[in-house]
């Protein structure tokens, strides 16, 4: 009986060690570094396995888009502040969404085809149904 208990304890310990090893080695380190650094572009790079050249081109595209995004933002704020008709605000928001979709397609075009399709499948549905309470930059987290 004592030997069976020792055996069960050893097997449980071996199983726990294997679980821990699988957990540590099975996780995507780059993804967690992106979360730790609050860097959405690092997430993009890790998630879609971007090469240095692809990542550099996409980063440039994002930087350019952030300027355009700022213009849309200013227009929406101005419309809200002057209590513009709801239709006008909706139209500005529609323009913003369309610009984002164009931007996402440009980003996808810089990725390997399979990754680009996966990227669009991930981001496009979220554009329409976004909860709209995040930060206006490519940093994530608090």
């Amino acid at each position: 009986m004592r030997n069976i208990l020792i055996t069960v304890a050893l097997v449980v310990a071996v199983c726990a060690a294997a679980f821990g090893t699988g957990f540590v080695l099975g996780g995507d380190r780059a993804l967690h570094e992106a979360e730790r650094d609050g860097d959405a572009l690092a997430w993009l790079r890790a998630e879609f396995r971007l090469s240095d050249a692809e990542f550099t081109a996409i980063r440039r595209l994002h930087e350019d888009f952030s300027v355009e995004c700022g213009r849309h933002c200013a227009a929406i704020i101005a419309a809200r502040e002057r209590r513009a008709p709801a239709g006008e605000v909706a139209e500005l928001e529609r323009t913003c969404v369309d610009a984002m979709k164009v931007h996402f397609r440009r980003v996808a075009a810089l990725m390997p085809p399979a990754q680009g399709e996966r990227y669009l499948a991930l981001v496009l549905p979220r554009v329409e149904g976004h909860p709209h309470h995040g930060a206006p930059n490519l940093r994530v987290g608090p």
């Binding site: 004592r2 030997n3 071996v14 199983c15 726990a16 294997a18 997430w43 913003c96 930059n137 994530v140």
Partner: protein, 99 residues
């Protein structure tokens, strides 16, 4: 040489076994009984059940590693979904206007 059944009975009656006595016989029997009933140490137990124990360890390692990897993947998937939301939020001009 064939023995008739009539002559067998007297022969058996006269038969005497003169095997030499072993003075250590009882002691050795007691030793063997004691050895059988004694609790084996774990290494002895493991040696005796080496094949079964090996199989159990292999299953434990494979199962544990697969479980750990699966858990890590599901955690990564949840994290990636959250980061995707944050990524899109960072590009959405409407969010800026609502702050």
């Amino acid at each position: 040489m064939p023995v008739s059944s009539d002559s067998l009975s007297p022969r058996l009656r006269e038969w005497r076994v003169n095997a030499p006595r072993d003075p250590q016989f009882r002691a050795r029997v007691r030793e063997r009984i004691a050895a059988r009933s004694a609790v084996a140490t774990w290494p002895e137990f493991a040696r005796r059940h080496a094949v079964a124990l090996g199989l159990v360890v292999v299953v434990a390692v494979a199962g544990g590693a697969a479980g750990g990897r699966g858990w890590a993947k599901s955690r990564d998937a949840a994290l990636s979904a959250r980061l995707a939301e944050e990524y899109i939020g960072g590009l959405d001009a409407r969010l800026v206007a609502r702050r």
